[in-house]
Subunit: 345 residues, 4 copies
């Protein structure tokens, strides 16, 4: 039986990526797709890439009544919009999968990192944090999904086996990450222009990037206690891909690179979308795929553990991970319809 | 029933792309993959992108006996190698799909454009020219497939409706095309280095590029008579994608852009992998997909017809088209296992 | 004696490039730089690249009185603005160098290609068309300079030796050109976003791009009679660089590649900024430099002459060429302060 | 008086960049340029960018006698070659400026990081470490120059004001850096191919990159005692540019971002090629220029100091810095002939 799904906010990059992925999903069918300022436009006007599969799709203006009875609705909305839309649709559809940040954090952490009071705090607990590898039980136990952010996904998957076993100190963790420009969305800003990003690397959001709270939330969940991270994101001249390079101080003696690689392999042994590699992960190995690649090192000289994680920010870091979580809550095999092989070259 | 296939020459870019595409193909299973200098290497050493699907695949040294009984074998070999390998395997396997240039042209045209006598001219007729949209009957009538080159695919699909109906003069056709760097393969040459291709566009193979003969072959087939083309390829700083911009002189009066767009739509009405667009086609709309996008214009001011075609050179221009042709000869629905939605952004 | 110059419209890409070039010019000093919406901003806010030389520069709001007595004023304004500004400053300053399109074409050609009546037609004749190599006498004879567009510069320098000597037919000329994204300026449009231009090539302005008129103007000047061109520009994923690939029919018998290369070398023998190369020109060879590189071929098989020209669109195609023309009208050696070596790699 | 200089190893990227920079240097003239496997080739065959200034330059095979009496010789040789060449030329020329790693470190540190015994340890002390801002006295006191590596330059300039004043702990320093691909030189390796680097970020040399020793050497010199660094380099898809993101633990109480920015400004107040910026430095702001841009932050939440430095690896990180140091030892103003404005866009 094919499940009927809608996408509210389908004209942004995560929405377009959902359309791409769902075109190859045998069990989900997109029957409704909305846009805001692009309502009325053909999907192919914005994304001619969709022409062969969605030649007739026109973005509708959002109407809560139109989602009645859908099996699932994805939300690909700008920050702050989901908490307005969710109360209007939560009981009309089977499952809501929010790709925004609104339902990822507890209300207090949300207030701390986003600098505003949450508009629908009572609904947060109805969403599972959709980083399935680390929150599978929680996701399965709840009805709706808050799909995690891109940086938190790459960082948390890279560090999880370390914090799960208490192998590193929970403070002093440093995450440096680089991201392709698509992470900024389809926003008309000088900082997103080709001519200003090409041949250019720059850090941003120094000390205060909102994904810090989400990384600490995910790792804290795995660790079973507070974890503190200094997170520094950078833009690099590519469209997709995130690489997180993380350092931490060992909390136990005798760690070795070989030993940690074994632990990583054991930790992710049953995960279809996490590859533990001996070699440093390459973002391109994940391009277009729902796969994360991670590795780990121990440096006895400086007393440091180094972990790295690579993903495609629009797939494993957004739309693909959202589909994976929906597969789980729908009872489908998690990998259904999701590519695991990256596009290389 | 799943068909068992092999890839001889799997370590190059077209081989790796076959592995990527076949990982998502429900009816074909890769059971054999060879490499030459990379024999013995893990597939993931060269392409870590394959790790989630081919974690255990090791490239074998080629052994003709090993293909015995396979349903199909793809050849992804350097120029000139296929004509040596094909005689050794043609009767051992169900179908050979050659991604090289060796079996695309009649022997005399081959000698003209490649400057050497063909080594197995008697076998050429057993191969259909696998540009399915223009050669479907030929492909279906033969057992084996010579998958066309990347530039000929983009150019011929852009111009075919014009020559099919005798709407343009068969001489004076100019094809300017740009290609991503992957078209040059995984060759260690200074001209393929990142630092020398980035921020760089250059023409090459001026007047004599070998794909000229193939474009003339394809268009001549459609026209039912000789067609002459001046073809000028260029490298542009991207990995994948070809855009062919073609000009020709009208052979009939009264052509209009709207009229030609209608003809194009009619011509390609039943093709799952050709999109006729009003807007100029973008290479990125085809990225990772087996789809070609084409458009056409008439310029009364200068008396010129302008046609454009865009593809992903590694998919529709190589491995994807090869799978499409194999689907046809195997009696599968042509689109089986092939993505039609490009990766945008 | 250092000449004091102003830049009206200094916050766009051509303005910023003027600031870069003039920082290395020993005879010109920038004493005034204006912006519109960015008035009041530090130059380094928009272009941190300027920090070491213009750390204190703040963009002023334009005030005609502020240019009184300057030796020269560059205009880097959006289309249509120069014809409003020029009447207000023409008699206040020594020389105006307009980088916009407003004073390049005769009034009738302007109306044809820009679809509007020119606002200051009487002033057009006071501007020389600043493609110095082809219009040196005109530039030297007039006081002010209309710096040519980027595509016309690459195309006209590539074709000039052919039309100068009547070697090609003046109709049926086809110019296909590719440009880096900076040619579109610092405009906040989805088509200029990194994520939509990376890995993407697309034609635009099909049949009607305004630079067509300018190419025909320049070549007509050289030919001494009308020249007709079909011009098709494309965007390619790089920031700077234009490559024009031009085809034409020979007007005389017996042309050879070697003979034409000799003619090209003779034609440009005294030009410091035109390199005639045997090899196809690479845009990167011109990156950051005021140099154009050109080559030519004859194809007896199809009866075609092929000419190619490469430039950096922001230097030889805009700001560098403007400085070169100003050097000429100021009586300085033309190469003063202009780099001729491209940045490679 | 113009100084006559030679370049031994002129066909690599640092050699080509020297040729580019010296074409604009009023006091230095290149009279000799050698290559190894490219001996006999025209410089423009490898770098057509040089055509307008070095149209006749042919790379010579190296002959020690040919450098006799030159004022200076730059060495742009592969690792390990300089220690063979230097003994043969040191007393024939005024100054040697080595762009390789051979004379940067004391012999014991060299052995530690390069895993081999130095071939000419007695000569090391005749070279000053050419990071002029931090080693000006040493450079001025010695005759020859060992131009520092690219990563050490970006990292050390970012961290120097902190270690100079003992503001951070000398252990636990983490440097994450990204580099454009040109840093790997003109080496024909699969890892340098366009198609494998585009849309790809990867760490390399984990834990053991040789530049670690050089960073520790430079910072140790500034600190006046040992400094320990974990250095992790990454390749990002651009040709030029390095960004170093550094974290450390404060060694004193009460540090603030504003206070540290003031200290940085004071520390670099007289440096023409270091810009202290409030905003995070962008690599593109340094493109083609000899300028470094740095910033600093204090994070009270995690107890961390964050410093960042950006350079063009081929200019400030190699050839430009080498010229700056030579200017110093020749008694020329340090900025002579060196661009300080980056190419943006």
């Amino acid at each position: 039986m094919v499940h009927r799904v809608g996408i509210v906010g389908a004209s942004g990059y995560t929405g377009a990526e959902l359309l791409r992925l769902l075109a190859g999903h045998p069990e989900l069918e997109v029957v409704y797709a909305t846009a805001d300022s692009n309502a009325g436009a053909a999907a192919t006007d914005l994304y001619p890439s969709l022409a062969a599969a969605y030649g007739d799709l026109e973005f509708a203006a959002f109407d809560p009544g139109a989602v009645d009875g859908l099996d699932a609705v994805f939300l690909g909305l700008p920050h702050g919009e989901s908490q307005k839309v969710v109360p209007r649709i939560l009981d009309r559809v089977g499952h809501v999968v929010d790709l925004g940040a609104d339902f990822r954090l507890p209300a207090d952490a949300y207030a701390q990192w986003y600098g505003e009071v949450h508009g629908a705090p009572d609904l947060i607990d109805r969403f599972g944090f959709g980083m399935v590898e680390l929150f599978r039980d929680e996701v399965a136990a709840r009805v709706h999904v808050a799909a995690p952010g891109c940086y938190p996904t790459a960082s948390s998957l890279a560090l999880a086996p370390l914090v799960a076993d208490g192998l590193i100190e929970p403070t002093g963790i440093v995450v440096n990450a680089v991201s392709g420009i698509s992470g900024a969305g389809r926003k008309l800003a000088a900082t997103n222009l080709y001519a200003e990003r090409e041949q250019n690397v720059v850090g941003y959001g120094l000390l205060t990037h909102r994904h810090t709270g989400e990384i600490e939330h995910a790792l804290g969940h795995v660790a079973g206690g507070p974890v503190q991270v200094l997170f520094t994101p950078h833009l690099v001249p590519m469209t997709r891909g995130i690489l997180a390079t993380c350092t931490a101080r060992p909390a136990v003696d005798g760690l070795t690179t070989a030993g940690l690689l074994d632990r990583y392999r054991a930790y992710y042994a049953d995960e279809p979308f996490v590859v533990v590699s001996d070699e440093p992960p390459q973002t391109k190995a994940t391009l277009g795929a729902n796969t994360a690649q991670v590795t780990v090192r121990v440096d006895p000289r400086t007393g440091t553990v180094l972990a790295m994680g690579a993903i495609d920010n629009l797939v494993k870091g957004a739309s693909g991970q959202a589909v994976q979580a929906l597969n789980l809550v729908l009872g489908l095999p998690e990998p259904t319809g999701l590519p695991s092989v990256g596009m290389m070259p």
